[in-house]
C-alpha cells in the first residue's frame, strides 16, 4: 500500500514540476489535469469518497475543459 501511495505521489509531483518547463500551454494544462486525477486517488486512499468524487469530476474534467476553451481564445504557446 505504502509503495503504491509513494508511486502516485511521485508521479503527481513530477507532473506538477513538468508544468514549469512546458512551453506548450496545452501540455501544461494536461499535466495539471494529471495532478488533479492523482490527487483524487489520494483522497480515496484517505477515506474521503465525497471529496474524491468532487475532485475527479471538477478538477480533472471541468477545469481542464475551461482551460482549453480559454487557450483556444488566446495563444497556445508561451513566448
Amino acid at each position: 500500500m505504502i509503495i503504491i501511495v509513494t508511486l502516485i505521489v511521485a508521479i503527481m509531483l513530477a507532473a506538477a514540476i513538468s508544468v514549469v518547463f512546458f512551453k506548450d500551454l496545452l501540455s501544461a494544462v494536461i499535466a495539471s489535469c494529471l495532478v488533479s486525477l492523482f490527487a483524487s486517488i489520494l483522497f480515496l486512499f484517505l477515506q474521503a469518497p465525497d471529496v474524491a468524487m468532487a475532485e475527479a469530476s471538477i478538477g480533472a474534467a471541468l477545469i481542464t475543459a475551461i482551460f482549453m476553451i480559454a487557450l483556444r481564445r488566446t495563444r497556445r504557446y508561451e513566448e
Binding site: 514549469v20 501544461a28 495532478v35 488533479s36 478538477g59 480559454a70 481564445r73 508561451e78
Partner: protein, 119 residues
C-alpha cells in the same frame, strides 16, 4: 519506511503547494500563473484532508445500520474541502475570463509586456 508512512501525504501536499508558488512567482505567462494557482489549490485541499485522517479509520458514512462509529475519519475537513473545490472552479473561470479580456486588450499574455501589471 516508517518515515514514508508518516509523511508521504504531507510531502505530496506541500510539494504541490511549493511548486504552485514557484510557478506563480517565476513564470511570466498569465495562463501559466493561473495553472499554478490551481495546483496550489489542489495541494491545500490534499493537506486539509490528510490532517483529518485517522489511521485505519473508515469513511464517515453509515452505509448500513450495523456500522459502528468507532474509528471514523474526521468529517469536518472533508465538508470544508468539498465546498472549497466548487468555489475553486468558479474563481478559476473568473480569472480565465479576465485573462481573455487582457489578451484582447493588449494582444499578449506576457506579464512583462502588459505595462500596468509590472512588478
Amino acid at each position: 519506511m516508517s518515515f514514508l508512512q508518516n509523511n508521504i501525504y504531507y510531502i505530496g501536499a506541500f510539494g504541490l503547494i511549493l511548486i504552485g508558488l514557484l510557478i506563480v512567482l517565476v513564470k511570466h505567462n498569465l495562463i501559466k500563473v493561473i495553472i499554478g494557482l490551481s495546483i496550489m489549490d489542489t495541494g491545500i485541499n490534499l493537506f486539509l484532508i490528510a490532517i483529518g485522517y485517522l489511521r485505519n479509520g473508515t469513511a464517515p458514512i453509515f452505509s448500513s445500520p450495523e456500522v459502528e462509529s468507532v474509528l471514523m475519519v474526521d468529517p469536518v475537513p472533508q465538508a470544508l474541502v468539498l465546498t472549497a473545490i466548487v468555489i475553486g472552479v468558479a474563481v478559476l473561470a473568473l480569472a480565465l475570463s479576465l485573462a481573455i479580456r487582457l489578451y484582447k486588450h493588449f494582444g499578449t499574455l506576457d506579464l512583462r509586456k502588459i505595462k500596468e501589471l509590472k512588478w
